[in-house]
């Protein structure tokens, strides 16, 4: 390869390996319960990948990301359950609607920086939660919206655990590929530059404000898809899923996995989805253990878990090279 090769191939390779593993997983998986959790993991990966594009790539904090997840879920849920739209149209409407709202929210808030942006997005999240809970005639209020149909395209209904698994992970694959491509593009570099130094990026000709708005909308689009998948998956939606605590959970997943790295959100979302399931065996201690694990990760691996994998791979390569030399 040339002296300035893009180093894209290795990452595409690992993404292909990962997706092949995911595709083959149902063949060896123990049961439907496991597939179910994998489905949720997929939804969280989609959410966290979107959030990571905003926070990890571009360095803009959002403490209200669950609001866009909720908006995507409610638009899709209400249109199908109350107005009888086919889910595929509802999904398109939910992505479009959420993007428009994100644009309206992003234009004023992204003029703010750092803590101020954090506070503004926090406020936006709380407002949305209140709207979901109070618009009872549409959303079913605090007790939730019931009878949301499963996803169907024409006469094919995606209702089984296996069908949902592949449907969700198909979207995850698209989302991951998009994030991977973005990371090594002209735009990805501009976003990274904004994270590094807002002022220098601006002086190099990057329209920082415009890029921040674009990326805010894109990350909301990821959340909208995740929301739509979610609501048709569990056929029900309630406002508390999209409160402040879940915005923090998404943030925790990204940070534990490794903020700014491509695999970070995948690792973080997978671990924090599966961990509570395994901790159930230690009833009563689960919250404590969960907290201890998070504190441990942050104390000993402040960069998150993703760099750990990279170090292992490098060591493996070095060891291999050493063997080859002998």
């Amino acid at each position: 390869m040339s002296k300035y090769s893009q180093a894209a191939l290795p990452r595409w390779f690992s993404l292909c390996v990962f997706l092949a593993f995911v595709a083959a997983f149902p063949a060896v998986s123990p049961n439907a319960y496991f597939l179910n959790i994998m489905g949720f993991a997929g939804i969280y990966i989609l959410l966290c990948t979107g959030l990571n594009i905003l926070m990890g790539y571009a360095g803009q904090i959002s403490l209200g990301h669950a609001a866009f997840w909720g908006l995507g879920a409610y638009i899709s849920g209400v249109l199908t359950a109350k107005f009888g739209w086919p889910p595929i149209l509802a999904l398109a409407a939910s992505v479009t609607g959420t993007c428009l709202v994100a644009l309206a929210v992003g234009i004023p808030t992204l003029r703010l920086k750092g803590h101020y942006l954090a506070m503004a997005t926090l406020g936006v999240g709380i407002i949305f939660h209140t709207v979901f809970a109070q618009s009872a005639s549409l959303t079913g209020g605090p007790s939730g919206l019931v009878d949301v149909p499963s996803f169907y395209i024409g006469s094919i209904t995606i209702g089984s655990a296996l069908g949902n698994y592949y449907f969700i992970w198909g979207w995850v694959a698209i989302g991951l590929l998009g994030a991977l491509n973005l990371g090594q593009s002209r735009m990805g570099r501009a976003l990274n530059a904004i994270k590094g130094s807002d002022v220098a990026a601006e002086c190099m000709g990057v329209d920082t404000y415009r890029y921040k708005v674009i990326i805010f909308v894109l990350s909301a689009a990821y959340a909208a898809v995740a929301g739509s998948l979610y609501v048709h998956y569990i056929n029900f939606v309630a406002p508390d899923t999209f409160g402040f605590m879940n915005s923090v959970l998404l943030l925790t997943m990204v940070v534990v996995g490794g903020i700014g790295s491509f695999w970070g959100p995948v690792i973080g979302a997978s671990i924090l989805t599966f961990l509570p399931e395994y901790l159930r065996a230690y009833e009563g201690l689960e919250v404590l253990l969960y907290g201890l694990i998070l504190v441990g990760v942050m104390m000993f691996m402040p960069q998150g878990l993703a760099p750990l994998f990279r170090t292992l791979r490098l060591r493996f390569r070095l060891a291999k090279r050493a063997q080859g030399g002998n």
């Binding site: 300035y4 593009s185 002209r186 735009m187 990274n192 530059a193 590094g196 002022v199």
Partner: protein
């Protein structure tokens, strides 16, 4: 082109609270020249650079660059007109490689937007390769090509200054603003920098620089502006400045 006025500062003022950082300042920079701005600490040199690049807005007065009024233009629009700068403390994108840093300087020469990025289109890929090619050459020009794929955060101070220079040059600027590019450099590194700056000038790029090193300023610049407390107290060739009574009194001292 050469010899015409490319940058004109006319009656520009800027104050912070009651303090006048730049006060009714006027001077012109001719195309193809190296012009230096000197003055004691707090004379308003950095503020002047921030006003020209649009990071701060002036209170009154006008800045005209290449026939274009800069009022109300954001820094990125000014960069698009051909105005590039370096920073006193290097503003490097630390999580990126050296080459990627320079590629950000090349940003305006690319077109690929969000959808090209997400879909990784053939056109965006070709555009990217061409940009990489060019940026690598810029790195070769400043002598940093051997570090192209290293993390920018790992560079030494002198190399950071070179990287900032390369990043600004990747923009293909008409005028380059250098804010204390020799600060913290060794004698040898400074000489290397001066060679680069002369090379840039010979390629037709105008240079406006702020510098404390008098040896450097006197050797390198075609013209000098001297500021004190935000006001211009002298302007002319290095020889004229060295003889100017008022400049010697407030700044140069008697030993020069």
């Amino acid at each position: 082109m050469r010899g015409e006025v490319i940058l004109s500062i006319a009656g520009v003022s800027k104050s912070y609270g009651g303090l006048m950082a730049v006060s009714n300042l006027s001077f012109q920079v001719r195309a193809g020249a190296i012009k230096a701005v000197i003055g004691p600490n707090g004379a308003g040199k950095s503020t002047l650079f921030n006003l020209i690049t649009g990071l701060e807005a002036q209170l009154c007065g006008g800045i005209v660059f290449n026939g274009c009024h800069m009022k109300g233009l954001k820094p990125n629009r000014r960069a698009a007109l051909g105005l590039a700068r370096t920073f006193q403390t290097p503003q490097i994108f630390e999580s990126m490689s050296v080459l990627e840093n320079v590629l950000v300087g090349r940003h305006l020469r690319g077109k690929a937007g969000l959808f090209a990025a997400l879909l990784y289109t053939g056109r965006s890929r070709r555009e990217d390769l061409a940009m990489r090619d060019h940026c690598y050459q810029v790195l070769e020009k400043v002598g940093l090509a051997h570090k192209a794929h290293e993390d920018a955060g790992d560079l030494a101070c002198g190399q950071l200054k070179l990287l900032e220079m390369a990043r600004a040059l990747a923009l293909d600027p008409k005028i380059l603003l250098l804010d204390e590019f020799a600060a913290g450099l060794t004698r040898q590194e400074t000489e290397h920098m001066m060679t680069i700056v002369r090379g840039i000038r010979d390629e037709g790029v105008t240079v406006l620089l702020v510098e404390h090193d008098m040896h450097l300023v006197m050797n390198l610049s075609d013209e000098i502006v001297v500021l004190n407390f935000g006001e211009k107290i002298g302007e002319g060739t290095p020889e004229e400045i060295q003889k100017d009574e008022r400049v010697i009194e407030v700044y140069l001292g008697t030993e020069v």
